[in-house]
């Protein structure tokens, strides 16, 4: 069996004047490895290759990258799912500044996450026990709390590419709705008033790239629609 042709984005700002693609031939011995395993094989030959990784099982969200044009987590993406014509092109997540090779600067992504105040706000006195919630209210958080902040969705979103400083992005908005939908959160109106400008929520054009790439199978577009409904209900 022929070796897998891998084209890898390389950039070291300290030594390279511009990014370039480096070609590798990797012998997978016919196994359907995960893309992260493939990167580890490459790193055995070239120790200068840089990428983030941690848990290697799709929980930490460290190794989000662009594989043959589609964002995803390298650790849970089998080669059979992304390789076309025995070729694989690996690039960093699009739209964010590159620190080195596949490592991107996530500052803008985290700034938008911080902006939506991703924590429970409740101005009533703290009870002696936990703040209780009915099973029905708890069900409303399913599909929202599971986000691991890998940034695959936001960096697949053209609206986030063009306005990462103003548009919250699918990941931030999914998390924003997680707190808007929480029966224990009392800052709903305050949260909504921070979102009604033309950029924060409404720069979403509903193209659903976020839904297509989310490694956890979440649906930020639906959450954004719910935020719009809440804004509308609040303002009419």
């Amino acid at each position: 069996m022929s070796k897998l042709q891998v084209s890898l984005y390389r950039y070291n700002p300290e030594t390279d004047s511009a990014p370039y693609m480096q070609e590798f031939e990797v012998d997978t011995q016919g196994r359907d490895l995960m893309v992260l395993n493939l990167l580890e094989l490459i790193k055995q030959d070239d120790t200068t290759v840089a990428y983030r990784r941690s848990c290697r099982e799709g929980v930490c969200g460290s190794d989000g990258m662009n594989m043959n044009g589609t964002n995803g987590l390298a650790c849970i993406t089998p080669l059979s799912q992304v390789v076309k014509n025995n070729k694989l092109v690996l690039r960093p997540l699009p739209g964010l500044p590159v620190v080195r090779d596949l490592v991107v600067d996530m500052s803008l992504f985290y700034q938008q996450y911080e902006r939506i105040q991703p924590y429970l706000k409740n101005d009533s006195p703290v009870p002696a026990i936990e703040r209780l919630q009915s099973p029905e209210d708890r069900d409303k958080l399913d599909g929202l709390y599971e986000c691991i902040l890998c940034a695959c969705c936001s960096t697949a979103c053209p609206s986030f590419w063009w306005n990462p400083d103003k548009f919250v992005g699918p990941a931030g908005l999914l998390k924003s709705y997680r707190f808007l939908a929480d029966s224990r959160d009392t800052a709903t109106n305050e949260r909504l008033s921070d979102l009604e400008d033309p950029f924060s929520v409404f720069r979403c054009r509903g193209i659903m790239n976020c839904v297509a790439v989310c490694p956890k199978g979440l649906n930020p577009t639906r959450a954004i629609g719910k935020i719009r409904e809440m804004l509308l209900a609040n303002a009419t």
């Binding site: 979102l195 400008d197 950029f199 924060s200 720069r203 804004l231």
Partner: protein, 115 residues
């Protein structure tokens, strides 16, 4: 909070609802006009002119023009803020767009009442 003085309504929520409502108006107007042409295979100038003499048709048409103007403003404002990053070029482009929309709107109303 991001504010924007050149957007149509200054509010993302208003812009969004205006864009959707205006899209519905334009869709209904288009379906009506296409339907009218289809149901009048022998359409002549007198029939067409008679249609636009009707007050309800003029109101309907002005509504469609205003919808088109608002829709275009919201949509093109979005496009310019996405793709044109230098402020002076963006503001100049937006000014030209807004001026053109205004001219076309007044011109359209003049055509409606001038025939």
């Amino acid at each position: 909070m991001v504010t924007n003085i050149t957007s149509f309504s200054r509010s993302g929520l208003s812009d969004w609802i205006i864009q959707r409502a205006s899209a519905v108006v334009m869709a209904v107007y288009t379906v009506f006009l296409v339907g009218y042409v289809l149901f009048h295979p022998q359409l002549d100038y007198a029939t067409w002119s008679g249609l636009f003499q009707q007050t309800w048709m003029r109101i309907f048409s002005v509504l469609a023009f205003v919808s088109l103007a608002a829709h275009a403003w919201v949509g093109l404002w979005t496009v310019t803020t996405d793709y044109i990053k230098p402020t002076c070029i963006r503001v100049a482009t937006q000014s030209v767009i807004i001026l053109a929309i205004f001219v076309f709107l007044v011109w359209g109303i003049q055509v409606l009442w001038g025939a």
